[in-house]
């Protein structure tokens, strides 16, 4: 019999995550998700000067009927400001996947200081995130991303991820794309990409060292999603540093003791 320090369900979750590069799980605190969505719907209505909708998801899905692409960034910036000004928003966001993050990342976490919001109108090329891995642009390989849709997302309304084996092949060949474009890189891996289906009420946790991104949303509905990064607070940082980008959120008693402790001094040789 083999022994493990992990519970069987923790082992299973880790295995799934490592094999696929992501997991889609039910939200752990649906009330927290509803509070976040309600704040964004309320602020969107204030920005549009319209009455609160009877049905939030339909309102968000069809926001392209009320917002022009040229105005989208102003709305997005206003909503990100409102969300991050709410002191409860980041704890609520963490609560959406607290247990999963504990299993996959650890129980002493640093969290991104600002929640990001992505809004992708159908047919709009103005808010795209071309194929990339966060770690290529200054994120630590010790980070995971918690991605939370506010509407049901599938196909081009969602995001794509390159599975681990194909991603390893891309990593080995990436240098050969010097002088070419990211679109060329995308074309080279397009057959291997997985488009992730994540519904409202679910969360996606994914490995940001895998290539991912989105394309023009060809679905008839608008995508709304939030994202933020988590890492072990004592794991190595890359260009996204503690303080300016990350903040400790779950320091434990032993770490607080260790951080404060100084050996008694004053001795002479």
């Amino acid at each position: 019999m083999s022994w493990s320090f992990h519970d069987p369900d923790e082992q299973a979750l880790s295995r799934r995550f490592l094999a696929a590069g992501y997991v889609v799980l039910p939200v752990e605190d649906l009330g927290a998700l509803e509070r976040i969505r309600a704040l964004l719907v309320e602020r969107t209505c204030a920005w549009l000067d319209c009455a609160p909708p009877a049905e939030p998801q339909g309102f968000l899905d069809h926001i392209h009927q009320r917002v022009e692409p040229a105005d989208l960034n102003a709305l997005r910036v206003a909503l990100i400001g409102a969300l991050n000004a709410a002191s409860w928003a980041r704890p609520a966001y963490y609560a959406l996947a607290r247990r999963a993050l504990t299993v996959l990342v650890g129980n002493e976490l640093a969290m991104q200081r600002r929640l990001n919001l992505s809004i992708q109108l159908p047919g709009d090329a103005g808010s795209l995130l071309p194929l990339h891995a966060d770690v290529w642009a200054g994120d630590s390989p010790f980070e995971l991303v918690l991605w939370v849709p506010l509407v049901d997302c599938r196909a081009t309304k969602s995001m794509f991820l390159l599975p681990p084996a194909a991603n390893a092949r891309l990593g080995a060949a990436l240098h050969s794309f010097a002088g070419r474009t990211v679109e060329d890189v995308y074309r080279s891996v397009e057959p291997d990409l997985e488009w992730l289906e994540v519904r409202y009420g679910q969360v996606l946790v994914f490995n940001q060292t895998l290539a991912h991104g989105n394309r023009v949303n060809q679905e008839p509905e608008t995508r709304w999603s939030l994202n933020a990064r988590f890492k072990g607070v004592f794991t190595p940082y890359a260009d996204k540093k503690l303080g300016e980008f990350f903040e400790p959120i779950t320091l434990r008693a032993a770490s607080r003791i260790g951080l404060d402790y100084r050996l008694p001094g004053g001795f002479d040789e």
Partner: protein, 141 residues
């Protein structure tokens, strides 16, 4: 990174590698570029972030490939350009051949025509030589 298809402006270009031995947070690089754009009346488009791998310029290549949809590029610093002079020359050519402009926000330097290149190249080569032979110093002669 935002990529408008039609609305022209100047694409920011920031880095995720140390620059001349120093690290500048990405949001600070963006602040410098935004301020530069505002002071010069240029429409700023969200920045492309160069990858962390040493010697990698994939994002710069990607920005240059989209020059037809831009007025030009505002790089955070001149010293983000490739170390090899021929590689830099190819970048200047790509920008100037399509009538676009390359700005460097920290230095306040603009390459808007071929006549602007020699002074920039002098600075690049001297900086590399002073830093300890990271360039072919025969090029200084």
């Amino acid at each position: 990174m935002s990529r408008p298809d039609t609305d022209r402006g100047y694409r920011g270009y920031i880095g995720s590698r140390p620059l001349r031995g120093h690290r500048v947070p990405q949001h600070v690089q963006n602040l410098v570029i935004r301020d530069y754009a505002r002071r010069h009346g240029l429409r700023f488009l969200l920045s492309a972030t160069e990858y962390a791998m040493p010697g990698c310029y994939l994002m710069l290549d990607d920005v240059l490939a989209g020059l037809d949809r831009l007025d030009g590029v505002i790089a955070y610093s001149l010293f983000m350009l490739p170390r090899r002079p021929p590689r830099r020359a190819a970048i200047y050519r790509r920008v100037l051949d399509c009538g676009r402009v390359l700005h460097f926000a920290v230095e306040g330097i603009v390459i808007a025509g071929a006549a602007d290149v020699p002074a920039v190249e002098d600075m690049m080569r001297i900086d590399a030589a002073v830093a300890g032979g990271t360039t072919d110093i025969r090029g200084l002669g």
